[in-house]
């Protein structure tokens, strides 16, 4: 269980996160809202990449607000970046091994890669560098979170750039993960098909939490476009 208490984050006098309080229990929670609303910033505050200006973050009741990125990772927080990082020299297998925190067998690594729709044989020894496409990097980013098996998993726009990979498969990844760990899965997304599978939808706009409720309550309003003007323009490109 993750709790945010009066979380604020200001950079150069600009308030990016404004007094957000929320409790995230186990299950699928989608975070949506317009670009620039503060979604990625919130994820980075939870992962410890940014330190809040004020407020608290609690993990299973323990105050983790002042813990380092490493400590939070060890306590069970995982974050799949919106923009995956490239590494010259480190291979897919290297990163999966580091993510798992133990020597990963080729077999385990292959299973994880096939879950994200990559043919293991072709990728396992590839360097995670600029020779991979945006979509491939994105899937490897997701694979690392699968390998980690932590209680809290945050995915930042996992659908971006994976147009050939079906949404069904992506949703299957989240379902399987949930079946296995029973943890909290936070998915930042603009995609109706992802929002559709969430138990709960949280809407962020201009750094404020403007709506938070069950999917059935929030989704219809979003689709009408009255609530948060979410960007669903890319829907038609993304096919099953």
């Amino acid at each position: 269980m993750l709790e945010l208490k009066n979380l604020c984050y200001t950079v150069d006098g600009k308030e990016i996160i404004k007094n957000i309080s929320a409790t995230f229990d186990d299950g699928f929670i989608a975070i949506t809202g317009p670009n620039g609303g503060g979604k990625s910033t919130l994820a980075k505050l939870i992962a410890g990449i940014y330190t809040p200006t004020s407020g608290q973050i609690l993990l299973n009741g323990e105050d983790i607000t002042n813990m380092s990125i490493t400590e939070r990772a060890k306590k069970g927080i995982s974050y799949a970046f919106q923009q995956p990082v490239k590494f010259k020299g480190l291979t897919v297998k290297d990163l999966l091994t580091l993510a798992a925190g133990k020597d990963t067998s080729v077999n385990d690594a292959c299973n994880i890669l096939s879950e994200v729709g990559l043919c293991a044989r072709d990728y396992i020894n590839r360097e995670v560098n600029g020779s991979l496409s945006g979509g491939e990097l994105k899937r490897i980013e997701i694979a690392m979170i699968i390998a980690r098996e932590t209680a809290i998993s945050i995915f930042d726009e996992p659908e971006a750039g994976i147009d050939l990979w079906s949404f069904k498969s992506l949703n299957k990844v989240f379902e399987k993960m949930h079946d296995k760990i029973n943890g909290t899965i936070l998915i930042i997304s603009h995609q109706e098909r992802i929002l559709n599978t969430a138990d709960r939808i949280v809407v962020l706009k201009n750094g404020e939490l403007i709506n938070d409720g069950s999917r059935d309550e929030v989704l219809p309003k979003l689709l009408e476009g009255t609530e948060a003007n979410i960007n669903t323009g890319s829907c038609s490109v993304l096919q099953d």
Binding site: S68, T70, I77, S78, F87
Partner: protein, 305 residues
């Protein structure tokens, strides 16, 4: 051979006991042991110190190991090794120099290696430099490699120097005839107050000759590295040189490219990137549970792999 010497041998040539195939082991300035095969002959030079390695035309799937180790402090060793690779031969050559200096005097090894590849010969040349010892004496190595590639021949050189060498000035010169190819991968890590200068000059003289010179390096603490690459395109050819360096602490890295195209169909490219480890790489690995120091180590190990 004592344990220190055996260990050096393992580091520079991956040799545990007696290597397979042809070999020539030089220890503390003298011949330790040698083996030749039906196709590979090794002959001691008469006029200066060093050996001639003669590989018969058509020799395939054979290897030659010629490690040099120094475990006496204050020893200065200079050798000339000439390799003659016959037509259509395809061989692996492993050279390397290990110094273990526990004394307080400078130990040095200067090796001058010349490769003469006949038509269509292929060579994979692996060279490792390794220094150890906690004495005050410096470990110095100045390897010179001269590569002459005849028509259609191919040489791939892999050179590695990870720590332990206080001062190195490496000179590599290649001359390529028609359709010849030269590939060089250099890996260097320096620390403390070490100095490493590498100097490549490649003359692409033949039609459709090509060269790819890639250096990856990490400079830590107060060390200094200089990478000079000169490529002369004198015919229709392709030349590419790349210097990719990570700097840490107060290290200094200089990259100096010099490309000269003297033929309208010469195509030459230089790339250089020098900078510290990207912050986002550290952050990503920390979100996987690594400490900052562990993340740094992984990034560097991967980079130099």
């Amino acid at each position: 051979m004592n344990t220190i010497e055996k260990n050096l041998l393992k580091e520079v040539a991956d040799i545990h006991e007696t290597p397979e195939g042809a070999y020539n082991i030089r220890a503390n300035g003298k011949l330790d042991s040698r083996n030749t095969t039906a196709n590979i002959d090794i002959v001691t030079k008469e006029d200066k110190s060093g050996i001639d390695i003669i590989i018969k035309p058509g020799t395939k799937h054979e290897s030659v190991h010629i490690p040099v180790i120094i475990s006496e402090t204050g020893l200065k060793d200079l050798v000339y090794n000439d390799f003659y690779i016959g037509e259509d031969a395809d061989v692996v050559i492993v050279a390397g120099c290990g110094i273990h200096n526990c004394g307080d005097q400078e130990s040095a090894h200067d090796g001058i290696h010349s490769f003469h590849l006949a038509k269509n010969a292929r060579v994979k040349y692996i060279e490792k430099h390794y220094g150890a010892g906690d004495g005050l004496g410096k470990n110095v190595m100045n390897p010179t490699t001269i590569i002459e590639l005849s028509e259609g021949s191919y040489l791939e050189m892999e050179t590695t120097q990870i720590k332990g060498i206080d001062s190195t000035h490496r000179v590599t010169k290649g001359t390529l005839a028609d359709n010849a190819t030269l590939v060089i991968h250099e890996k260097i890590m320096t620390h403390g107050e070490q100095q490493a200068t590498t100097d490549f000059t490649v003359d692409l003289n033949g039609v459709d000759s090509s060269a790819n010179v890639v250096s990856r390096s990490v400079a830590k603490e107060k060390s200094f590295q200089k990478f000079v690459s000169t490529i002369n395109g004198n015919a229709k050819c392709n030349g590419h040189t790349e210097c990719d360096a990570i700097i840490m602490d107060e290290a200094v890295v200089t990259a100096i490219p010099e490309l000269t195209a003297a033929n309208i169909d010469a195509s030459l490219i230089h790339e250089a990137a020098i900078g510290k480890i990207a912050g986002e790489q550290l952050v990503k690995l920390m979100t996987l549970g690594l400490s900052e120091a562990e993340a740094e180590e992984q990034i560097i190990n991967g980079f130099l792999k």
